[in-house]
Symmetry: C4
Subunit: 217 residues, 4 copies
């Protein structure tokens, strides 16, 4: 679908795509809670049984916490990209659509990990979980690549800034691949490496120090 327009409608386009994306992020992050399963009433006889059943859900709590933080960080990075983008085009929309696809998928590997975090199958569950972030990472690389190739960025963004973000996304991709491979061998190690990337995303600075004030209009 081709959508052409003048400067004002370009702003609207970008805003509407961002609002739709925000909606998907907000819904995906809130659906994470649905993976929790209430301990069945007919198997709980007394206080201790319910307490133990809730404690037994610790992998669900960890997976919920991890995925919530991950999606929140993804949302902030998505927002960081859109702050630098002036308009959208077809390839950028496709890349953004792929990214949303991977984000909305996160609740499923989260539930798999929560249910299979114990026992011999945990390595597969952890690799499946980390592998999802490989796909998410491909989405971010594609988003940034289409934004820069299509000359969609705002005028003030410097070439060195573009490179910095591209490198960060490439490093992220490689580390997620390594984490998924590592998880096949040791679930905890893979998950730890995958989680460690939060630091990278946390310090990634989307404001260009050479152009401290990028206008939005």
């Amino acid at each position: 679908m081709k959508l052409r327009g003048n400067a004002s409608s370009e702003q609207r386009e970008t805003g509407r795509v961002e609002a739709f994306s925000d909606g998907v992020f907000a819904i995906a992050i809130t659906l994470l809670v649905l993976q929790f399963q209430v301990p069945p009433v007919d198997q709980i006889d007394d206080r201790r049984a319910l307490r133990d059943a809730l404690l037994h859900l610790w992998p669900s709590f960890v997976a919920f916490l991890t995925s919530f933080i991950a999606i929140l960080i993804m949302w902030m990075n998505h927002h960081g990209v859109f702050r630098l983008v002036r308009q959208v085009n077809g390839p950028f929309l496709v890349a953004n659509g792929f990214l949303l696809l991977t984000v909305s998928f996160v609740p499923f590997p989260t539930a798999v990990l929560a249910n299979h975090a114990r026992g011999p199958s945990s390595t597969i569950a952890a690799a499946f979980y980390c592998g999802t972030y490989v796909l998410v990472s491909i989405g971010y690389n594609a988003l940034w690549s289409t934004a820069t190739r299509g000359r969609l960025l705002k005028p003030g963004v410097s070439e060195s800034h573009v490179r910095k973000i591209r490198h960060a996304y490439l490093v992220g991709f490689l580390v997620y691949v390594a984490a998924a491979a590592l998880a096949l061998w040791n679930a905890h190690a893979g998950l730890a490496l995958s989680t460690a990337l939060w630091l990278l995303w946390g310090v990634l600075d989307y404001s260009d120090e050479k152009t401290p004030e990028i206008p939005r209009t």
Copy 2:
């Protein structure tokens, strides 16, 4: 419910209907993930079992991917229509409501297809899935028909442009009917034909080449 108003409030009306519709699209697309079922813990003994169980879910992955792209394309086309619309009236709201009904229904045939993609019942599942898109297509035809008959379009939209979109929607409807019928005979063929329509929606150009700059007021 009748809602009259001046030009300014008409803009608001259109914007609010569009925002509500966007919400339904975003929620429906994110609910697709709920069709995935975590492999039951008590049936998974080792690594291989979980790996095989996840691989066995391939119809779910395909159905998730297909429906996600389909809803995303629907959303973009919905947006394309609203870009050309100046105001709303009763019949247009009814058509839009019917369209949202069909969009919000998509997760169910998706889940049916994911669970019944194998075995002798796959033709019914595929026809049910393709049949849903027949309903969606009726929604788009009704939306465009009410928009043009009620003179809701912006001033700059040419008659030839109106016809082009009407023809595209009519072709879409006929192909979806053919795909649903074909799926009863061969599930894969019907699904392939239905998916091929993405090309049509992808190239459908909502900007009028005769009036390249339609103001949004």
Copy 3:
């Protein structure tokens, strides 16, 4: 929680409450699809079995359709009220919160009706379903009552207009009570009476014929 403010922030208040309410309406209407249950794979042997299983779901289709239209109409009427409202106060927010509570509850009686529409328990399911609309109706009556008593309406709204809407809401409440009582005796009759009220909401005109142009500021 008390929120005071000047005219500009009052407009924002109203807008934010309306946006939050719109979100709840959009989510509740899209969650309706979750009541559909995929026919279990292990009970479906051939084409006919899946076809029959889907046809057997007709109460779910009817309940989905009915509740979707009902929530859509509720949303349009909610919007109609907010078009006439200039600002919000505490009692109005409480009434609006109660209304959202009842709207977000609708998916449950819908699922009960879909599952128990056949057999001797259908009267209870239908009465439970109609009874939910009694609560919704109380919400609308409270919303309009707090809006008029708190002098929250825009300057141009005439007294006769206020009375007209109050009477429509009161009639709605009484008919829903009658429908719920009737459903206990005959499920179909109760549901039919409840559905017939769509006509009332469809013709209810929120624009004041004496003040055709109510400014939105």
Copy 4:
């Protein structure tokens, strides 16, 4: 992720964080209905059976009502904080993220309470439910603490006003801790104390009486 910007983009930042948060609140409050379980068809023989089964769900109704009101009050208080905030920074975003985490978690303890409100395990369910509000309360304390320490408040907010809200949040935290502990001994008493806090949140006044008109821009 660092996001710098001028005054205008600061307003946008705040607005976007608030819109995302509103989305999470609206989704979490609407997901509460999913905890209701339809009485199984094969166990219902006649009218009385369905009526009794629905009446037997009373803990679900109470839990739904309680959590709905709680999230609605949280949303209003969240809004109250954002009315006083001029801009956001990193720690504030982390505090807000933690708060959203706890809000989106509420549907799970609600479902646990609904299912285990009867019998000897009710104290654990009630303590788990009240304990969730302890976490929510920590989120509000952190939100206000980061807002005041980071000098994110609007110019007109007086020091006494800041203290008043801080004290209210601290009292809230202590009472929720007491309620969780009390619930371990008596489920009803703990839940009653927790619910009594609605009064505090209901009377908490976010408008500063010394500066009655806080500008929003």
